[in-house]
Symmetry: C2
Subunit: 341 residues, 2 copies
């Protein structure tokens, strides 16, 4: 097809919705910081560390435990369970496409994947290690890891928490899901969205969802790494939903900044692969996607959607389910017996 | 090479040890019961179920949690941790080559892999489901599993606990590790054992270890499925090791049969891949392989090995580390939001 003609048709398709922004497809490659290129060796090491439960106090909890990459990148639970059966306070955010977040965690307290990776190992409820030194000591005690650190970071004294975090982040930057029906639609490719999904996309924009859920990852505008895109949730705090789903119990970003202005402020999460990540919201209190749509429309935009509109938006959200890459299982080096205490 | 000549050389090699039995290589294919052929569709479904934590009460514990096939098929811990942070009483046996056991569990209480697979889901300490009906209800509630059951078992009302157990068992029958240095040695192939490993093999046989650890999987003679090969451990119960490592605290098979004769009787475990499965013994009390060799020689055979003999046997046991197959990660179907309670 003539490129100009193609562009005209595409633009006509796109302008059929009221969304003033651009409908963007997900990039096939995630951006990486200058000091941590996504090399094959770093990805391989990072995948091993991601799946290895030995860096938790009990040896039972790995990144994979709560970020199940064989599924939606979360754990199906309202809130996650870490060591000693302890439940955390927030819903595990998906690791899929997390590389496209400009800040990490629900409250955006980590500016990068590299900083995020250092959180869970020392969270007493999650992996429960005393400190990061203790965590990296566990890695050092497994001689089979050394050649992988050498390959990833060059020989030397390279088993450091920073390098481990870099490797895990490099792996996470490969966890992206392009080629959803939505992506094919906006790229003018075959096998795009159904009629209902296109209608749902328009309803999504017309309702105002795109005010926050914009951009290729539907998590807001592209910002410099570390500058999170935060919004208040719920905005209309007197709704019945707020009480029913305990939406204001957690002060959100205020826990990080200790500023009243940040009460109930949250990083805007991605909407990609939502069909694989029930339950919803920061506390996992909303179980189904249709109810999540109703709750957001009412608490954020003060709108009551018709059941038809809800169904159309859900259909559109289903079109944001991308193609998960095939992955091989890593092979983890053995624990030397004398490491065991 | 002439087959007869080859056989003569092989037999000469083998008769260089005192072992009256045969040194057997691990078969490349595991035997399967007539009613559960190891088909591709059953293996694919079984792998999904094996990795899926949603059939535990908390949604956090899968077969993989304690049988880490990215490593030695166990969990590096003395005893495993199930739901609610509860620790079990015995060391997780490796799932690698479990297809070559004629009975399953340390006490042999399950005659087949199929029966074994139905144990952990309803063990209150392990996966904690109320009963098997509750476990299979969880599978039924995930519509994405249905096509896989159809492919594996033919269409119909096929999501049953028996079929789920068959699928998991079919997957487990692919978890075998042939082509160890030992296997190459006994098959007369290149890259067999080192001189020390060959010496260790002789010491292993001369010491009497082969009385129990015989056969291709070093877990005793080939018996009909269900007829476990049991031995008393410890035999010499007054040894210091017995007290130090609490070897008689657990009555073993007596818990199953309630017969005094079965006190401290155990299924003879495989010795393959021991370097990947520290710690050792039914209670995981012995941390290193060299100490495990000393303990076994003393408590079972009343022998004090020299340090050189211990080192040689350890070298031989290292030669039993086989080739782990490359595996792709399964992709698990999503949880419908209304399944979440």
């Amino acid at each position: 097809m003539n490129r100009v003609l193609f562009a005209v048709i595409l633009s006509a398709l796109i302008s059929s919705t009221a969304y003033a922004g651009r409908w963007e497809a997900l990039p096939e490659v995630a951006p990486a910081p200058e000091d941590n290129p996504t090399t094959e060796a770093r990805v391989a090491l990072g995948k091993m560390l991601f799946f290895d439960p030995r860096f938790s106090s009990t040896g039972t909890v790995s990144c994979f435990s709560c970020h199940n990459v064989m599924e939606g990148g979360d754990d199906h639970r309202p809130t996650s369970i870490g060591v000693h059966g302890q439940a955390g306070g927030r819903n595990a955010p998906t690791v899929w496409n997390a590389a496209f977040n400009s800040a990490q965690f629900w409250d955006g307290r980590a500016p990068t994947l590299e900083e995020q990776a250092k959180g869970p190992p020392v969270n007493p409820i999650e992996m429960g290690m005393q400190d990061l030194d203790a965590a990296i000591s566990r890695v050092k005690a497994i001689p089979g890891y050394k050649p992988y650190f050498d390959a990833a970071f060059g020989p030397g004294d390279n088993i450091t928490i920073d390098n481990a975090a870099k490797a895990v982040s490099a792996y996470e930057r490969t966890l992206i899901t392009p080629n959803s029906p939505y992506d094919r639609h906006v790229m003018g490719k075959q096998h795009g969205m159904t009629e209902q999904q296109v209608r749902g996309m328009e309803t999504f924009a017309n309702t105002g969802c795109t005010a926050c859920h914009s951009g290729a990852n539907f998590n807001g505008p592209t910002l410099p790494m570390g500058q999170g895109f935060f919004q208040k949730f719920p905005t209309f705090a007197d709704k019945l939903h707020v009480k029913k789903y305990k939406l204001t119990d957690d002060p959100g970003r205020m826990q990080v900044t200790e500023q009243q202005a940040d009460r109930n402020m949250w990083r805007v999460p991605t909407l990609r692969n939502l069909v694989d990540t029930a339950p919803y919201m920061h506390n996992g209190e909303v179980k189904t996607l249709d109810e999540a749509v109703r709750v957001m429309a009412k608490t954020q935009l003060d709108k009551d959607l018709s059941e038809g509109e809800v169904a159309d938006i859900v259909a559109f959200l289903e079109a944001l389910r991308g193609t998960y890459p095939e992955q091989s299982m890593p092979r983890l080096p053995p624990t030397p017996g004398d490491l065991l205490k």
